[in-house]
Symmetry: C2
Subunit: 145 residues, 2 copies
């Protein structure tokens, strides 16, 4: 698998954009941890490494990473966007509890074929998918009755 930095750099060049130290640092930090994160957390982590990259650049670079398909958006329901890296990591889906809003991750390898078919039917080049199943977790079902 090609390194993230290389893939991202190619994406940028392909768009007629430049590779900058800020973009590379943000990319590195995004792929350095394995949890969902939001912009504020990402900025804090960069600060801890001694980097003072502006909020605006972080937002801008994240938008590019999403566009490239290397990073995914996850709407966690606490009012703002969260992100997760995708490139080079096993795909997972989300179970969301409508009662407590909790988000549970689970592996799910069985969407590949369906994805392919849908892409063909809709003339769409598929990069990835986001499956969120919602319902009620065991704890919330207990409380209800």
């Amino acid at each position: 698998m090609r390194p993230e930095s290389e893939v991202f750099r190619e994406f940028l060049i392909h768009k007629g954009m430049r590779s900058t130290p800020e973009r590379e640092e943000i990319l590195a930090e995004v792929f350095a941890h394995h949890d969902h994160f939001d912009v504020e957390e990402l900025i804090m982590r960069l600060r801890r490494r001694g980097l003072r990259i502006s909020r605006a650049s972080v937002y801008r670079t994240l938008a590019l990473l999403v566009e490239s398909g290397m990073v995914g958006e996850v709407y966690i329901e606490d009012g703002h966007m969260h992100y997760e890296h995708i490139y080079g990591h096993e795909h997972h889906c989300h179970l969301r509890c409508l009662g407590c809003r909790k988000l549970i991750e689970f592996r799910n390898g069985s969407l590949k074929e369906m994805e392919k078919r849908i892409g063909q039917e809709n003339d769409f080049e598929i990069i990835g998918h986001k499956l969120e199943i919602y319902g009620y977790c065991a704890a919330c079902r207990g409380e209800e009755s």
Copy 2:
């Protein structure tokens, strides 16, 4: 199929909450049209019908409708949340273009079994799901090269 109003009223009672004219009007308006909508649009539509329901109540009621599973959230990528009614309507999924951000709807009936299996494996009572496939639409693929 039982009418929306009845299902929602039961949901409210089950939660120890009250049925109010405001909640019923909002419910009716949500199910009166078939497109994605946001809070601002919903308030305008209520106004056109001569109803002056406050923004706060609209937000509060929508949250309840989402919790009940009758309405789904769709993050349209223009910076704020959009909604769609679900109860009693055929399920559809979304294709999102990473280039132009366009959202394309498509029917997809083939997730039922997978859903069932996932629910059992995770001790989760499944109400519905949200599948978003992202990639590049034909127009954006053309522009790129």
